[in-house]
């Protein structure tokens, strides 16, 4: 890779003096709401994106105003957990500085949108007082580490959850830039900030780690660069199977790009070995990843380029130990357990359906108000799932009625119970109006599309089927569209490619079926597919498996 021309982001990272760049100057520039171009790249590694309201571009330009720039701040929240006090603080910050909507991401963390440049420092300072930060939440570093969200499912959840925190800490950049720029920490005079993991170039591309606790693959473990699958025997955590090279991003028209599920390369037992293996997988990607073409820079391409066996050898040599053979595991589901559940020591959990992860008050349901009321009781923690829902957790038996009352009062129980199975298994990326890559609508369109699909499902009596549908605004989208039974990927405004045949557990990718469909074509096509599925499916055969058998395998 050394002889090839580095991508421009590589130069920006190297020249950034530990991710400082000219961010301070950019923040002080009162003439614009934007940052200097290089700083726009750097700020991602501080957990923020510069965005603009794309719906308003033309109107603002006519008014001789620059685009309406604002910032998305994404928290680093390994495993997706907040105390009630932190939720209250978060809500306050969201109300004062952002659009007011709290967005739960597909990676178990929180994003606030619409923050003006002049509000960034106050926001990050407020988060800091709550012991929250956004370090490395975006950019070419290890992102938020996610972990199976359902603590009630297993007695060892807590133990596994701690790994998310440990991995997150181990992979944090060592620079003090975040503290200097956002929290006004005095710069060190004799600055020595050796970062043995990231050095001065960080990673060639984003890097994602997830930990799954079978039998639930709620966090889509195989779509991550590193997937850890907890191996449990007799309620004991034995260690983890390690999968590498997952990743779903592709580029329209670039045949060299493809979605890929992770490959299991072995098993590690101790914590020390687990962390060491993760560290060295990252260091291999750091050294061997493609730094000239960002579209081919993810670990999956590195892996396929050098081959699995070479990769394993390199890993063993860097670790000083070889991985053991992978242990058997079994996923049987990939979902959130909506409603009330109880764990082995009698604590209660309520999983609230939050459509598209948007915590706000609407005419139908006041999720935001309900969460505030619940947080103010101090009787429930907040956990976020990889499907963008919220688990109100660790509720004592005696507090359950009070929480239930608040949930009923704000319509959350009704909302969670009556939303269709498809709606509850749907996922969409942010897209318009803020995502700079968006080619089509997603988050603000999918709910209404589902409303039009629901009658078709009803026609064929398929409403109870838990069919996963995921929509993204572009092939890079964050909604894991290739790992769904129905995937819709935007190609142009109002047009989508339709993918089918993915399985229900996230172990088989879907395949392109039709291209450039508008809404009525999507509905017509699904109507035909559902009709056939309804009449020809075997017992318990999921839509994804049926589609694969019926339309995909025969084609290939």
């Amino acid at each position: 890779m050394k002889n090839e021309k580095l991508s421009s982001v590589e130069r920006i990272k190297m020249d950034s003096d530990g991710l400082r760049g000219t961010l301070k100057e950019s923040l002080n520039d009162e003439i614009t709401g934007a940052l200097q171009p290089d700083d726009q790249s750097l700020i991602k590694l501080h957990g923020m994106y510069q965005q603009d309201d794309r719906d308003r571009r033309e109107e603002r330009s006519n008014k001789k105003l620059e685009w309406l720039y604002s910032y998305m701040v994404r928290l680093r929240l390994p495993g997706g957990f907040l105390t009630p006090e932190q939720w209250i603080g978060l809500r306050h910050i969201a109300g004062e500085h952002s659009t007011g909507t709290i967005k739960i991401t597909t990676r178990q963390t929180i994003q606030l949108h619409g923050i003006l440049k002049s509000h960034l420092k106050p926001v990050l300072k407020s988060f800091n007082t709550m012991h929250l930060d956004s370090i490395a939440a975006c950019g070419d570093v290890n992102r938020n580490v996610i972990c199976s969200a359902h603590p009630m499912q297993s007695a060892i959840h807590e133990e596994v959850f701690r790994y998310a925190e440990k991995i997150s800490l181990m992979t944090l950049p060592k620079t003090r830039a975040y503290y200097e720029i956002w929290l006004d920490e005095e710069p060190l005079i004799d600055k020595k900030e050796d970062d043995p993991l990231y050095q001065d170039r960080y990673l060639p591309r984003k890097f994602k780690i997830a930990i799954a606790i079978p039998p639930n693959n709620d966090i889509d473990v195989f779509t991550n660069d590193i997937g850890l699958i907890a191996i449990i025997e007799n309620n004991q955590l034995l260690g983890f199977n390690i999968a590498v090279g997952g990743g779903l991003g592709t580029t329209h028209g670039n045949e060299n790009t493809y979605p890929r599920l992770g490959t299991i390369i072995g098993f590690v037992d101790t914590e020390e070995k687990t962390l060491k293996a993760i560290y060295e997988i990252i260091s291999i990607q750091r050294d061997l990843g493609d730094r000239s073409d960002r579209k081919l820079a993810r670990l999956k391409y590195t892996l396929d380029r050098i081959g699995i066996e070479t990769f394993k050898k390199e890993l063993a040599s860097r670790c000083g130990f070889s991985l053991e053979h992978a242990k058997p595991y079994h996923f049987t589901e990939r979902k959130d357990y909506y409603g009330w559940t109880q764990n082995h020591i009698g604590k209660w959990y309520y999983t609230v359906f939050v459509e598209n992860g948007l915590v706000r008050d609407t005419e139908r349901v006041s999720i935001k108000s309900a969460f505030l009321d619940i947080a103010q009781t101090g009787k429930a923690n907040f956990r976020f799932t990889g499907n963008q829902n919220v688990i109100l957790s660790e509720i004592a038996e005696e507090d359950k009625p009070a929480i239930e009352k608040i949930l009923v009062h704000h319509g959350l129980i009704d909302h969670t119970n009556t939303s269709s199975a498809m709606r509850k298994n749907a996922m969409a990326c942010v897209a318009f109006n803020t995502c700079p890559l968006a080619m089509a609508e997603a988050q603000r369109y999918l709910p209404s599309l589902i409303s039009k699909i629901e009658p078709i499902l009803e026609k064929y009596r398929l409403q109870p089927e838990e069919i996963t549908i995921r929509m993204t605004c572009c092939p890079n989208g964050s909604a894991r569209h290739y790992a769904a039974e129905i995937g819709l990927i935007g190609t142009a405004y109002g047009q989508y490619n339709l993918y089918i045949g993915g399985d229900n557990l996230g172990e088989r990718l879907n395949t392109i079926y039709k291209v450039n469909l508008n809404e009525s074509q999507i509905l017509e096509t699904l109507d035909a597919l559902f009709e056939t599925y309804h009449t020809e499916k075997n017992n318990h055969e999921t839509f994804g498996d049926f589609s694969n058998r019926k339309w995909i395998k025969t084609n290939s």
Binding site: G33, K64, S118
Partner: protein, 572 residues
């Protein structure tokens, strides 16, 4: 100027001297001064005109926009070259006690939109009207500058002229009223002044620059344009509505950056038609009023104010029609409806008592050199009529910002000669919060177009960065290309504490003072209260603090800059 104690001694010395003796001494002293300092004055052209050159001649001016000052300084310069010893004084500097000692007093004075004297002349004006002593020794003439679009055209000049007459002074030349295109009328008046001294002394005036002598009344040039673009610059969610309006002049419009554009708002057709039908007159009948000759319909539409008539007009209407009308302000349509004319022919009398429609003035935000000579841009806030009076008239006619593209616009140019860019190599500091930005957009475009080498610094402020940063993209571009060297911003409502441009001025005191000391020109545009006043105070504080001067010295420093045309204000 003499110190008080010296002045006292001087008064004691001349206490019992006769008028003739004083004249002689005056000339004698002037001669001494000329001989002792080669920089003062120029030697007269011959011995015969000694008596003329030794006359004490004062030329005073009272100005708001700077036009009177410009005229006065220009004439004084010519007069001095002719050997006339003319002393020029701004009326706010004029010692009121001197009035009784004047021989020849020439007054160039403008009138505000509402008939008031310019603030600079207010003290003089009031003093003149309170003075009980006659001024029989005074010879005078008044040159009045005004805008005939206003009902009180040249009112202040008229008042001063008649007041001096009433006090027994001798009017050596009749009052000369000038409209906005005042050059020729003013020059004719000044020629008469010079001729007067020539006749008195046999003094030769051949070297005066010749001016075509036409005795037709000067009228300002009107343009028939169309609205080409009309955009609300403020974004959604703003408390403000500021419109960027581009007017196509349908040909070359003679103007310069810094000038203002005047619009006579038209009365609504529905009202005019209603008045014509209620009075039963023929709308096409041509009538001659004091100022214009036009059809009744034209007069009612574009010349005469028919809304919110003042008490004097209502009273005259009552006399004409013979009705008892309670004191109040009425629209004409209500008057002719409730207190009808005796017959249609009375319309002529009624039209003659109506005041002209007052124009609205807007600072121009374009430069012919940068934007092309056939378009004029305006930056108009919904609530920024330049004269308070006009808001009342605003009741009748649509606001400019509401006019759709294509609407015909009847407009004229009001020169503002005291608000002009300096030489290309001079530094320029522009302070224009809100719609005060208008002339500076023009200035900056012109500085760019002319390749000016001096630096440019703009202070701008409004409520919110996101919604109210007028012309943001243009200023960003000028900043990145280096035309705009510094851009200091104050958005008052983006944080808990209100921040205004004056705070930014104080924050940058050191650098600002350096620019000023280096010969920089300072311009202020915007509303007089509170912006104009607060900004001036901040500038005074900068001078005081950075120049290590007392408050008084700082004031003098600023005054000095003003006299050198390095401190200019267009506040309204």
């Amino acid at each position: 100027m003499l110190a008080d104690n010296k002045l006292k001694r001087f008064h004691q010395l001349i206490d019992d001297f006769s008028y003739e003796e004083l004249i002689w001494i005056n000339g004698y002293l002037a001669g001494l001064a000329v001989n002792s300092n080669p920089l003062i004055g120029v030697k007269p052209n011959g011995s015969e005109n000694k008596s003329a050159s030794t006359k004490k001649i004062s030329l005073v001016y009272g100005t708001e926009t700077g036009n009177s000052k410009r005229v006065a300084l220009q004439f004084a310069g010519i007069a001095r070259k002719q050997g006339l010893n003319v002393k020029v004084t701004a009326l706010d500097q004029y010692k009121l006690d001197d009035l009784k000692n004047e021989n020849y007093l020439f007054i160039v004075i403008s009138t505000q939109g509402d008939g008031e004297p310019p603030p600079q002349a207010k003290l003089f004006y009031d003093h003149l009207h309170q003075l009980s002593l006659p001024l029989p020794n005074l010879n005078y003439s008044v040159l009045a500058l005004g805008d005939s679009s206003y009902p009180q055209f040249c009112k202040t000049g008229e008042d001063v002229d008649s007041r001096l007459d009433a006090m027994g002074s001798k009017r050596i030349l009749p009052l000369q009223k000038c409209d906005v295109d005042y050059d020729q009328d003013a020059q004719q008046w000044f020629e008469q002044v010079l001729k007067f001294f020539q006749q008195q002394t046999g003094y030769d005036v051949e070297t005066i620059p010749k001016v075509e002598t036409t005795h037709q009344p000067r009228t300002k040039k009107f343009y028939e344009g169309n609205i080409k673009t009309n955009i609300n610059l403020n974004d959604r969610g703003s408390n403000k509505q500021t419109y960027h309006i581009e007017i196509d002049g349908n040909g070359v419009v003679e103007y310069e950056a810094g000038d203002a554009l005047g619009i006579i708002p038209l009365n609504k057709k529905i009202l005019v038609d209603f008045i014509i039908s209620l009075t039963g007159c023929d709308g096409n009948q041509i009538i001659e009023t004091q100022r214009v000759e036009a059809t009744i319909e034209q007069l009612l539409t574009r010349h005469l104010n028919i809304c919110y008539l003042n008490a004097a007009v209502v009273k005259k209407y009552a006399i004409i029609t013979g009705h008892q009308i309670p004191d109040n302000r009425y629209d004409l349509v209500d008057l002719v409806h409730e207190y009808p004319l005796r017959d249609a022919s009375q319309i002529t009398e009624v039209l003659n008592i109506l005041s002209p429609i007052a124009p609205r003035l807007y600072s121009i935000s374009s430069s012919p050199m940068a934007h092309g000579p056939e378009v004029v841009h305006l930056t108009v806030s919904r609530h920024s009529f330049r004269v308070k009076e006009e808001q009342r008239y605003g009741l009748c006619s649509g606001f400019l910002g509401e006019l759709p593209v294509g609407t015909p616009i009847h407009f004229y140019i009001r020169r503002n000669r005291s608000f002009k860019l300096p030489l290309l190599d001079k530094d320029v500091i522009m302070i224009g919060p809100g719609t005060g930005i208008a002339p500076f957009r023009a200035f900056l475009a012109e500085r760019e177009a002319t390749g000016a080498t001096g630096r440019n610094w703009l202070f701008f402020g409004d409520q919110h960065f996101t919604t109210d940063f007028l012309y943001q993209v243009e200023f960003q571009n000028l900043h990145s290309t280096g035309v705009l060297n510094k851009l200091s911003l104050a958005f008052s409502r983006d944080q808990a504490d209100k921040i205004y441009v004056q705070h930014r001025i104080l924050e940058q005191a050191t650098e600002l003072f350096q620019w000023m000391k280096g010969g920089g020109h300072v311009y202020i545009c915007g509303t007089k209260y509170p912006n104009g006043k607060d900004i001036e105070n901040a500038i005074l504080q900068v001078i005081e603090q950075e120049g290590h001067l007392s408050q008084e010295e700082a004031k003098n420093h600023l005054k000095q800059m003003e006299q050198e045309n390095r401190y200019m204000k267009d506040v309204y």
